[in-house]
């Protein structure tokens, strides 16, 4: 893809579409927005392929970071358009969506085998976290909230939120280490 090979882009698209579209769909409500942002993600990946450096991280992290950033950009733009702050409407829906829909259905037969396996692994790892740690992670990752905003939303001191996220991250890092090796 770095050489401008369009066939490589198609292959890249087919390889990463399932998880990219799932992530974006998890963050955004509107189907139109989801479709737009999926397209934008792969367009940005294509245009910036020459900036990717394998020694600085995996392709997986690179493309998923683009997808999440674009989705959160759209989420924030939508909030501004509606002249809303981060209120019960968006972020809480995101959080609820995560807790309610992520954990109970780790197995999804419609996913391809590799995606399904990874999903099962990550959902299992998340389910092992204490609820408040999981909530902090999901508000931050899927809701795009800063640690201060998470503290405000959950009514917890900022330091507590930071500690929860750090503990959660350390546990996840250990638990998900086998997946990281696969993406190298």
């Amino acid at each position: 893809m770095q050489a401008g090979d369009e066939a490589a882009l198609s292959e890249f698209y087919n390889r990463w579409f399932p998880v990219v579209s799932s992530l974006i769909s998890r963050i955004l409500k509107s189907a139109d927005d989801v479709e737009d942002v999926v397209e934008e993600t792969f367009w940005q990946a294509w245009r910036q392929a020459n900036r990717f450096a394998a020694d600085r991280g995996s392709v997986q992290t690179w493309v998923l970071t683009i997808a999440r950033s674009r989705a959160l950009d759209r989420l924030r733009a939508t909030r501004r358009l509606r002249e809303e702050t981060i209120d019960e409407g968006n972020a809480t829906d995101s959080a609820a969506k995560g807790v309610a829909s992520t954990l109970p259905s780790a197995s999804d037969p419609s996913l391809d085998a590799e995606h399904a396996e990874r999903r099962q692994f990550v959902v299992a790892a998340l389910s092992e976290l204490p609820r408040e740690q999981r909530e902090a992670l999901e508000l931050g990752y899927f809701g795009g909230l800063s640690q201060s905003e998470i503290a405000e939303r959950t009514g917890q001191p900022l330091g507590t939120v930071k500690t929860r996220m750090r503990l959660a991250m350390l546990k996840l890092r250990d638990r998900l280490a086998p997946l990281r090796e696969d993406t190298r």
Partner: protein, 293 residues
């Protein structure tokens, strides 16, 4: 001005930095520290890798089925093709000196179906397609150049103010808008139609109908200035209906109009622009300014 963080301060902020949950100078300071710290640099990369895997916890995007996947892929490849062709189109010659008009904003909002069949089409006259093509290629080149300008501005803004999202979001939206417009002009599924007039000042236009994306892009020229309280209205005419594709006002006689409306390929009978009262009308009442198919 960036405040330097101690190692402990920076380390404590790595999680937030990896989630892109820091803003402005704090984010810059953490990233600057991580870039030169043998502990924080690898730690930040590791946290990012860990957080990225949370994406797999997201349930399947039920709203995006195989058809949507193919549709997005098709649009993506159109944009790639558009990007490649931009390098070919630009050298063709000078672009029109008239400034690119601002993009109308109201085109996808008004889609009123009207049923009168008594609309005359006798005045619709064909014109020299080669002249239109030259002008439209010039406009396309201008759009592409405009797109690159906006893209460059976005990159500069990203570099200058990583923590200020408002401007970069706007620029990204503009870049995406230009990319989408370029794809709508020269995508593989685009049908090009000419709209002409018998009027003395000879307004004319080209319509680019992207049948795969259901987008319509009208590039109009030499449109007479509107009087106060009047507007131009774009119509998609089928055998059974005249569909309003929105209202617009030209700048210096020029207009680029975009609309999204799904229509079967064989159902389009004609395209027309009429002059109507401000705000538009559900059924065409005014004079046909340009029309064609």
């Amino acid at each position: 001005m960036k405040r330097e963080l101690s190692h402990d301060e920076a380390f404590a902020l790595l999680d937030a930095a990896a989630m892109d949950a820091l803003e402005g100078s704090e984010r810059d300071a953490v990233l600057a520290h991580a870039a030169q710290c043998e502990t924080c640099g690898p730690e930040l990369a590791s946290v990012r890798e860990t957080f990225a895997q949370l994406a797999f916890a997201a349930p399947k995007a039920v709203e995006l089925d195989a058809t949507a996947q193919e549709r997005i892929h098709s649009r993506l490849m159109d944009r790639v093709a558009a990007g490649s062709r931009a390098k070919v189109v630009s050298p063709l010659g000078p672009v029109p000196s008239s400034p690119l008009p601002p993009m109308p904003m109201s085109m996808t909002q008004e889609r009123r179906i009207v049923n009168s069949l008594a609309w005359r089409r006798a005045e619709w006259i064909a014109a020299a397609a080669s002249v239109l093509l030259v002008v439209s290629i010039g406009m396309l080149a201008a759009i592409m150049r405009d797109r690159e300008t906006v893209h460059d501005a976005l990159q500069a803004e990203l570099a200058r103010s990583a923590g200020t999202r408002t401007t970069t979001d706007s620029l990204r939206t503009l870049v995406a808008s230009r990319d989408s417009m370029i794809a709508g002009l020269i995508g593989r599924d685009v049908t090009v139609m000419s709209l002409t007039s018998a009027g003395a000042k000879a307004p004319f236009a080209k319509m680019f109908w992207d049948t795969s994306r259901n987008t319509w892009t009208l590039a109009a020229h030499n449109l007479p200035e509107l009087k106060t309280g009047r507007t131009y209205q774009l119509w998609l005419v089928t055998k059974t209906a005249k569909i309003s594709a929105g209202v617009f006002a030209p700048t210096n006689g020029e207009a680029i109009v975009r609309a999204t409306y799904p229509l079967p390929k064989d159902s389009l009978e004609a395209i027309a622009v009429t002059e109507e009262p401000a705000g538009g009308v559900p059924q065409p009442t005014g004079a046909i300014i340009i029309a064609g198919k």
